[in-house]
Amino acid sequence: METQAKNPNFNIASKKKKSAELSLGYNPYAKDKLYAVLFLGPSLLILALFVFYPMLRTIYLSFFLTNNLGKPTVFVGLKNYFALFSSNAYINSLIATLVYVIAVSIFTIAIGLVLAQAATKKVAGINFFRTIFSATMGVSVSVAAIFWLFIFNPSVGLLSQLFTALNLTPINWLTEPGWAMTAIVISTVWMNLGFTFLIFFGALQSVPYTLYEAAQIEGVSKSYQFFHITLPMISPTIFFVSIITLIESFKSFGLIDLMTAGGPNNATNLLVYRIYQDAFLNGNYGLASTESVILAVIIALFTFIQFKVLEKRVTY
């Protein structure tokens, strides 16, 4: 008994001794804490410096008017918030952002899914199409903007030449409010498709083939198979993609800056672009901070709703 009891103790003690040589104390809890600090410390420090401090600072700034050097000078409490919600331009931006985000999310997911489903068919040259479908992942925003600007150019663009050839009146894609939003949505969806396609394609590959075989034996139609086997099986992926796309489209900036600069008549002046304009062009950091806080709350709210509503329909 004694030796048996002693042995494990001895073992622990020897291990302790061994590792104690490397660390600083003998207390096992102290050592845990030390490791915790060692491992978490750097990331906490970085997060505190680059995430938490700017976040708190943004909230602080949102209660102030800032002068032209960006320094907070006059405390105005919630006045910035009231000013925003009573401004027609801001409300329009809010609505435009919602329209944009919802349109982009829906089209990206729907088209991405169709392309991915099509790419699972084993036909000649399918590898070529798979490459093409995922190719937009490798296109940078500036290149995409130039590409689409050429297509939408009102006098020498591809679409206007096509319309003229067909004897239709060319659309002023980027200068008429409704069409500008359509053009931006088209370009963004096109940009997003590569990534969405790739994720969906991967998910479709992981659906066990036996399920489809069983369905075929039962003589079920293709569309029934899609809605009752494919969709439920890849629902976690759809959920993931929908959240990523939603957050990404809330944060859209590059295409808007390069293609419409928020115009015409603020039709594509989405929340992020407005923040950029107020902060870095107008030097109005107080107001821009207020807008940032509102945007953060909106994104958090949407993500929360998605988790509450969509996750119920997800089969893991």
């Binding site: 008017l65 050097l69 150019n153 006098s155 390069l258 015409p264």
Partner: protein, 449 residues
């Protein structure tokens, strides 16, 4: 375990050594005992190429200073960068800042007025264009040195007008002169060629007011005191917007929208012969002559019917000396400014970029004479600049927040171009600007205490 750790430690040491080595290499390669003048600029295209040439020539010409040019993106963003880095080691000794940031940069108190060096050395400013100098001075003190300076002008495709047998617009056209040419062009080309484009650009809006002699901001456009309100909906503004709206509706004028894509689209349309005329900066001239074989025509900025043109103000940017650097560095920055302003370099600058030569002696330089001989129309912007007598409505607007003013007037123009009620759109923008001015003045006065 121990061996792995040793290998890892060895790798880390090697890695650090490589980094250290690279950096020491870099610093030793750059070791230049000359005083460094960091110069921030926002020039792109031919302007950047020529500016870098000037820098090289200046650096090779003497061994006391070395100018290090750094491109800082577009004008708007550069202003914030300049203000936010002041007092740090990364801040520039010399920087280029756009026309409408003048009041903002001045009020920051971050610069040494070039007047100090002008007085110290008895530098003769009378050779530099008076209109350009007036734009960047306050109560007779030269704040910064005008550098890349342009004038808004009207370009037309002379070959295209000739093809359809249309008489070109006169050199100082009124709105109805332009309407005539635009409508004829649109009709005679079977609606394939648009007559005129006025980009949705706040600068052009300001110029319509300047040319009509109408103040945009109170206190005489800020020249007699800090502006407290603006007037976007005056007679000239309303008349001009009505002219543009009617002709866009009829199809004779084209709306290319706002932003960098708008000017690119406009340029593409003009170069491909789908657009007959457009209003733009005189600095575009070199791009236009290089891009098409068609003969280019240039006139003064159009003015409203039944009134004389008051003259337009300049556009572009000026050079400022930061006061957070030693007096030796500031002196070096000033020496570089003088170098850029000499007659020969100003002439070279106009030939290379289309920005106007500001030194009066440049007109006698062979390079510029050669340009005028091959392109007589290149004289027009300079003539427009010289014929303008500076007054308070055509010497720029001395007001903070002009970027906001441009955003708001551009929004109003977008609404008007798409058919909205002119008065409502202008008044709405005016109200938004006035509330911006109120809170901006409030925020900045507290700071001045």
């Amino acid at each position: 375990m121990k061996r792995k750790r040793t290998i890892f430690a060895a790798l880390v040491i090697i890695f650090l050594a490589i980094i250290g080595f690279t950096f020491s290499q870099k610093s030793s390669a750059k070791a230049d005992s000359r005083i460094k003048i960091v110069f921030w600029h926002e020039m792109t295209g031919p302007g950047q190429v020529q500016l870098n040439k000037f820098v090289k020539e200046f650096n090779d010409s003497q061994n006391k200073y070395v100018v290090v040019p750094q491109f800082e993106g577009n004008y708007n963003e550069a202003v914030q960068k300049i203000l936010n880095t002041h007092g740090t080691s990364t801040s520039p000794a010399l920087f280029q800042s756009m026309d409408i940031s003048t009041s903002q940069i001045y009020n920051s108190g971050y610069t040494t007025p070039v007047q100090k060096f002008i007085d110290k050395e008895g530098y003769d400013t009378s050779k530099i264009s008076a209109v350009a100098r007036a734009f960047y001075s306050k109560n007779g003190t030269q704040l910064s040195m005008p550098f890349n300076t342009s004038q808004p002008v009207l370009y037309y495709n002379a070959t295209l007008l000739k093809k359809y047998g249309i008489t070109p617009p006169p050199v100082n056209p009124s709105y109805s002169d332009i309407t005539r040419v635009a409508t004829e062009l649109y009709q005679k080309s079977g609606k394939k060629v648009k007559g005129l484009s006025v980009e949705i650009y706040g600068w052009l809006f300001e110029q319509f007011l300047a040319n009509g002699g109408e103040s945009l901001a109170n206190n005489e456009d800020g020249h007699s005191g800090v502006p407290t309100s603006v007037n976007f909906s005056g007679t000239v503004a309303t008349k001009t917007m009505k002219w543009l709206q009617e002709n866009i509706k009829s199809g004779a004028f084209m709306n290319f929208g706002a932003g960098s894509s708008a000017s690119a689209n406009e340029m593409a349309a003009f170069l491909s012969g789908k657009l007959g005329m457009f209003l733009q900066s005189s600095a575009d001239i070199s791009q236009l002559t290089a891009g098409t074989k068609d003969k280019l025509g240039i006139t003064y900025y159009p003015h409203a019917d039944g009134q004389k043109s008051n003259g337009v103000s300049i556009g572009g940017a000026s050079l400022w000396i930061s006061n957070d650097k030693s007096s030796e560095v500031q002196q070096g920055a000033w020496n570089f400014i003088k170098f850029l302003m000499n007659a020969k370099n100003q002439a070279t600058w106009q030939v290379a970029t289309g920005y106007l030569a500001l030194n009066k002696d440049s007109q006698d330089e062979p390079v510029l004479k050669k340009l005028y001989k091959s392109q007589p129309e290149a004289k027009v912007p300079g003539q427009q600049l010289r014929r303008t007598k500076p007054n308070n409505t055509n010497s720029g607007i001395f007001m903070q927040g002009l970027i906001q003013e441009r955003t708001l007037t551009q929004t109003a123009m977008e609404q008007i171009y798409n058919g909205s009620n002119i008065k409502n759109s202008l008044v709405e923008a005016q109200k938004a600007m006035n509330s911006y001015i109120t809170s901006n003045n409030l925020a900045n006065k507290v700071n001045q205490k």
